[in-house]
Symmetry: C2
Subunit: 221 residues, 2 copies
């Protein structure tokens, strides 16, 4: 069991190191030697988890989509808002998210290691299907179409925020984006109860971290 | 006068050649030698118009925003839709647009040669201010905020369409984007009269080209 936990930690260290190198240099210029050095693990340990640079990129992309900050809400549309707003809040601080976004947008690379776009589209589609079944979404809405439209808009907004403000205005921009899209798809009764304020992401992250402190998941030290 | 016209043609040939090279190689890898060769003009002719690679990039960016396909409409919101839909229709066919988009999104380059983003934001802001004065836009809307939100969304949608479909689905995606944003900002009386169909861009371009054929602007041959 201790051995298994060590393996999980090593894997995490390698993914973090790979993310840092990919985010700095891009996929093509990154080398396994540099990732090894930054992770501080042996070559054998790295290759035990990832047998190629492509596999490392896939590892970073998959680590991007975790359910660490997903809290069930009365409104499924609020869960969708929370996904977008917690991501906006976390991106400037978490190198795995940042690297995952860059890799997913790498036109040459995606044929080698894939992209998180299909997983994000599916996740939001599922939320919108649930929201529609509960009467939160207007009848004409096609969940997959809205999910794809929002993903494209989210990616461009994130990119613009990086370029013009180094992400300092990302929470504001994603809040404005939700406010421009939700009226086209949500019922009035849902709209009135949604929270899309710019600090929504920060509050959800704080809520989850407080819960974790108060009732931590037992782990073997 | 003939001399002036020759200068205009040379300038255009240089901008087209620069756009082709920037679009293919990106700004950093592009060389003036390659642009010269592709333009088929002398070094002196090129430097008469553009004294550096930065100036060439600025020339491409500025050429992107032209009023060739802007037709006055009853609704100012329709003029805004037409800007976005004609661009979507033209991008896969016009290397200057393509190169302009790439250069405007070049994080390192923009400090050297600028970006078309401020000009696009201003253009859409002006349309929305006019639309608001005419009662087409809801009172709570802040034109600049909506213009920036839409630009970010448009850029991401264009990028996603390039990556997943080589732009073949761009008209559909931009149509869907307008349909997701307009209900948040337009009055019902304006919404009912707007045309956001995927083939809107193609129809506007055809309309303008037909007008030009039927009553061409006189030029000296």
């Amino acid at each position: 069991m201790v051995r298994q936990e060590r393996a999980i930690r090593t894997r995490r260290a390698v993914v973090e190191a790979a993310a840092a190198v990919f985010a700095e240099r891009g996929y093509t210029a990154a080398t396994i030697a540099e990732i090894l050095e930054r992770a501080g693990v042996t070559k054998g340990a790295l290759y035990f988890h990832f047998d190629s640079k492509e596999a490392l990129a896939r590892g970073v992309i998959n680590a991007q989509i975790s359910d660490d900050y997903w809290v069930p809400r009365e409104l499924k549309l609020q869960e969708w808002v929370d996904i977008g707003m917690t991501l906006a809040h976390r991106i400037p601080k978490e190198v795995i998210l940042l690297a995952g976004i860059r890799l997913s947008a790498d036109i040459q690379g995606r044929s080698l290691f894939g992209s998180a776009w299909p997983a994000w589209t599916q996740l939001v589609t599922d939320k919108l299907v649930e929201a529609k079944a509960r009467g939160e979404v207007l009848p004409h809405v096609t969940p997959r179409e809205t999910a794809e439209c929002f993903l494209g808009a989210w990616i461009g907004t994130q990119f613009m925020s990086e370029v013009v403000s180094d992400w300092t205005d990302l929470n504001d921009r994603i809040s404005v984006l939700y406010n421009h899209v939700l009226p086209a798809i949500a019922t009035p009764a849902a709209l009135i109860r949604l929270d899309t304020a710019p600090d929504r992401g920060a509050r959800v992250v704080e809520e989850v971290e407080r819960q974790q402190r108060e009732s931590p998941v037992p782990t073997e030290a």
